[in-house]
């Protein structure tokens, strides 16, 4: 079946502009995660959605970052007033539930470059 999809695959934006990144999880997956991967570094957790529960936003680095999810479907990550340090690959993942034993399925990522 279809995996996790993300769009756009690449985004170049000017410093100070807002960007919106999209994630389509695997159908039926109730849990959705956003991560940031800076060049040469590991994955940094940003935010987590589980069904209709309040999201866990503990990883968002600043109030310029926000995310929404409509039910158990599409999610958008918005970065306002982008800065050069926001340049990274943003990865989305989904899993059937949020249980600790479930592996996460990752999308191909969106490479964001802030000039």
């Amino acid at each position: 079946g279809a995996g996790v999809s993300q769009s756009p695959s690449n985004k170049v934006t000017e410093k100070g502009k807002d960007v919106e990144l999209r994630c389509d999880p695997i159908s039926g997956h109730t849990a959705l995660y956003w991560y940031r991967q800076r060049l040469g570094q590991g994955l940094e957790f940003l935010i987590y959605f589980q069904g209709n529960s309040a999201p866990d936003k503990s990883g968002l680095p600043s109030d310029r970052f926000s995310a929404e999810r409509t039910g158990e479907s599409v999610s958008t990550l918005t970065i306002q007033r982008t800065q050069q340090e926001d340049s990274a690959v943003y990865l989305c993942a989904s899993s059937p539930t949020s249980g600790p034993s479930y592996e996460q399925y990752f999308g191909p990522g969106t490479r964001l470059t802030v000039t």
């Binding site: 996790v4 995660y33 570094q41 590991g42 994955l43 957790f45 987590y48 589980q50 866990d56 503990s58 990883g59 990865l91 993942a93 949020s98 600790p100 034993s101 592996e103 996460q104 399925y105 990752f106 999308g107 191909p108 990522g109």
Partner: protein
């Protein structure tokens, strides 16, 4: 808080030789351990996981990992490396049996398999 360490930035091995990619973890409770692989310009792919039971876990593409509680390690292994195994490998750990516990990733180890 849980953490994971991958002490080697890069591992070089000749095709046909056995390979080991090291991972150690730190958690206060029961660990749930995962290995993911990332090919260039692609998202992470799940390889294998340890939840409970046998300490030797077998996964995709001939990879296996050994859970060692006393040494708090979860090294990834393969008896005979292929050039196509060359990629970036991430170890991840999650603790806790209830509620949301984020998945914490190591910084990654680049595996280079030479012909």
């Amino acid at each position: 808080a849980q953490s994971v360490a991958q002490p080697e930035d890069q591992v070089n091995v000749a095709e046909g030789n056995p390979l080991t990619v090291k991972c150690t973890y730190s958690v206060s409770g029961n660990p749930y351990l995962f290995w993911y692989v990332q090919y260039p310009n692609r998202g992470l792919q799940f390889l294998l996981k340890y939840i409970t039971g046998d300490n030797l876990v077998k996964g995709s593409y001939g990879f296996e990992a050994e859970f060692n509680k006393s040494q708090t390690s979860f090294h990834l292994k393969k008896p005979s490396a292929l050039v196509s195994d060359s990629a970036l490998y991430f170890c991840a750990v999650r603790e806790g049996d209830t509620g949301f516990q984020k998945l914490v990733f190591g910084t990654g180890t680049r595996l280079l398999v030479s012909p």
